[in-house]
Amino acid sequence: ELKVEQNPLFLSMQEGKNYTIYCNYSTTSDRLYWYRQDPGKSLESLFVLLSNGAVKQEGRLMASLDTKARLSTLHITAAVHDLSATYFCALTNTGNQFYFGTGTSLTVIP
């Protein structure tokens, strides 16, 4: 079974600061996803990373994938309050299942 670990689980950061969320996984995966979830809401797709070295950026968020290290990162630049949410990485192997990480709960403090 594919295992997905995220760290940190909880992150409190000040507005304007930078930080990185890490997603490690245990076996080869075809593609990696990052999702955002606001309290009481469903999951919103942020990024899909398809190959080694892939980097995608949207606003203050940038995601990257290193398939050799089995690691993806979600980098937050100059955080703002609106980014407060829980962030999940998820992977799929050749099967049908998405495997989600435990999530990183991000709180941006003014």
Binding site: Y33, Y35, S42, E44, F88, N96, F100, G103
Partner: protein, 114 residues
Amino acid sequence: GAGVSQSPRYKVAKRGQDVALRCDPISGHVSLFWYQQALGQGPEFLTYFQNEAQLDKSGLPSDRFFAERPEGSVSTLKIQRTQQEDSAVYLCASSLRQAGYEQYFGPGTRLTVT
């Protein structure tokens, strides 16, 4: 266009009752997934349909859980004789093509078993 919708959004059931949760996927999406999300956890896979065929039900936690998608569009997740440990948010997702492609999630049904 319309996204994935789920109903009801909230359901309170007494232990032992049966419940049925509905999912309307995005029109034309071939694949449909059900997930269970416990409080403070990531979603966990329950089952997967490709059109009307249930190709994977390995995540269903017990034989009290049953899912169907008889016409390849709307799906129902049924839980019989609910237990307190069934309390969770049940998420439905659909995907345009076969499994492994980007999934679009519905708002979820929060089930509370008392």
